[in-house]
């Protein structure tokens, strides 16, 4: 297998799931006791399962985690809590933005792996496809809960997606 490609993929996905975990943690800290609490908790549980899977893959493929993990720890929590302080719709808008970024990112990775060799990477492809479907589900849940009615929705969405792109770029390399 192409060690360099798999290395990058697992490192950035691990960082992504770790960040998503922290975002939901931040949102729960603010909105845990509100009406959307249970929904956020459910999405958070799925992200925890994703992170667990990537932890296993990281050990199996002997991949180095990104140095920026402590930074994503804080930044993710701040983003989650910050968006939640804008209200339930703000939190949902953040979810929509992040999940859209992550789904696109997973799609890119699926394309890369399929171009390389679909047979060799069958298991990894299966995992990423499954996770991409989960993230799309979260994206749709966010839309269902009036994400688009959030204050400054388009500005928020653009800013968050830019941040996600930067995070993906850095985590792949550092």
């Amino acid at each position: 297998i192409n060690k360099a490609v798999v290395d990058r993929i697992i490192r950035v996905d691990h960082a992504g799931e770790y960040g998503a975990n922290r975002i939901y943690a931040g949102q729960m800290a603010v909105l845990g006791r509100s009406s959307v609490g249970p929904i956020i908790q459910q999405m958070w549980n799925q992200e925890k399962a994703h992170l667990k899977k990537f932890n296993e893959l990281m050990v199996a493929y002997r991949v180095r985690p990104t140095v920026l993990l402590p930074f994503w720890n804080v930044a993710g929590f701040v983003l989650g809590a910050g968006s939640a302080l804008l209200g339930k719709k703000g939190a949902m808008a953040c979810t929509v933005a992040v999940e859209e970024s992550i789904s696109n990112h997973y799609n890119n990775q699926i394309r890369t792996l399929v171009e390389e060799d679909p047979e060799k990477y069958k298991e990894l492809l299966q995992t990423i496809k499954q996770f991409r479907d989960d993230e799309l589900e979260h994206h749709d849940i966010g839309l269902e809960h009036d994400a688009e009615a959030a204050p400054l929705y388009s500005v928020l969405k653009t800013a968050i997606q830019l941040g996600c792109k930067a995070a993906i770029f850095l985590s792949e390399r550092i």
Partner: protein, 312 residues
């Protein structure tokens, strides 16, 4: 010179990645070498040394001892899996020369002279040393990479034995101690010249390769020790083990005790320090959490006393 440069760059490929090419001499090379030796020693008696060489005729009259360093073989690179008998890749040849040169290091140091002597001992011209860098870098890097490979094999064998139930799983501190000791013991035959090797490894143009070798060796040790960290601890543990290894190596350089006992004691103390460091960190964290809880309790009490917590 350009050819030598390109050959050297081909050699760098070995040290870029983690996979280390191991030296594998081709059977025919050994047969030719052996037959040349036999021919010169038995004074014309024509013996067929290997039964397996019945497929080709060895005519000592036809055999020309190699006076020139072998140039690149275009047919070798296209062989792939089927490395045909009369074809040895450049990398394999370079590996053989450097491995042979190691025998001359105690006498000549990590220098181009040692490489030249190594080439001569294989029956090649001393000009073969021109394939390598003139300051002995290639020799040192080859040795380090060879040691790392041996260590990885050792650790893998140990792991197999534990999996088969033939051996007990060692506690982490003992595992680390044994692994570092095994790796440092590989330096013992060359310990007099090791300071020179270290200074070569620190040359700016060697730093990327030597850093790569060091980090992959430390990663191997921790992997076989069972490290499954996926957070920042991954970096902390590797940094700590690198420090343990490097300081123990330096202590070994000026150790004059019997069988380097002082070095192993030093290593034991450092590993014990590292183990206690992690438990100290946990203690600090739990103490900190307890202190924070205490302060929160005090704050709530104050609010109660002042009456802020009442709902009216």
């Amino acid at each position: 010179m350009a050819a030598a440069g390109s050959l050297r760059r081909a050699g760098w490929g070995l040290w870029r990645g983690r996979a280390v090419v191991r030296w594998q001499p081709c059977p025919l090379q050994r047969a030719l070498q052996a037959s040349a030796v036999l021919r010169s020693s038995s004074g014309g008696q024509q013996k067929e040394p290997f039964a397996s060489s019945s497929q080709f005729e060895l005519h000592p009259n036809d055999y020309q001892p190699e006076g020139e360093p072998r140039g690149p073989h275009p047919s070798c690179s296209g062989q792939g899996e089927q490395e045909s008998e009369d074809c040895e890749s450049e990398e394999q040849l370079q590996q053989r020369i450097l491995s042979a040169a190691l025998d001359f290091v105690p006498r000549l140091g990590w220098t181009a002279e040692a490489v030249a002597e190594g080439a001569k001992s294989l029956g090649l011209s001393v000009a073969a040393a021109g394939m390598f860098h003139s300051d002995g870098s290639d020799l040192v890097l080859h040795f380090v990479s060879q040691c790392n490979t041996r260590l990885a094999e050792l650790l893998q064998q140990e792991q197999k034995q534990v999996q088969l139930g033939e051996a007990q799983r060692k506690p982490v501190d003992q595992f680390l101690r044994d692994a570092v000791e095994a790796r440092l013991r590989m330096l013992i035959p060359y310990i007099e010249q090791w300071p020179q090797a270290l200074s070569i490894l620190l040359l700016p143009h060697n730093v990327p390769a030597s850093l790569n070798l060091l980090t992959s060796m430390i990663d191997d040790i921790l992997h076989y020790a069972g490290d499954q960290a996926t957070d920042f601890n991954w970096y902390t543990r590797r940094a700590v083990l690198t420090a343990i290894y490097s300081t123990s190596e330096l202590v070994m350089l000026q150790d004059s005790s019997q069988d380097f006992q002082d070095t192993w004691h030093f290593l034991e103390s450092r590993v014990a320090d590292a183990m206690s460091m992690s438990s100290t960190a946990e203690q600090v964290q739990s103490t900190g959490a307890a202190v924070v809880q205490g302060l929160m309790g005090a704050a709530v009490t104050m609010r109660n006393l002042v009456g802020l917590n009442q709902r009216r």
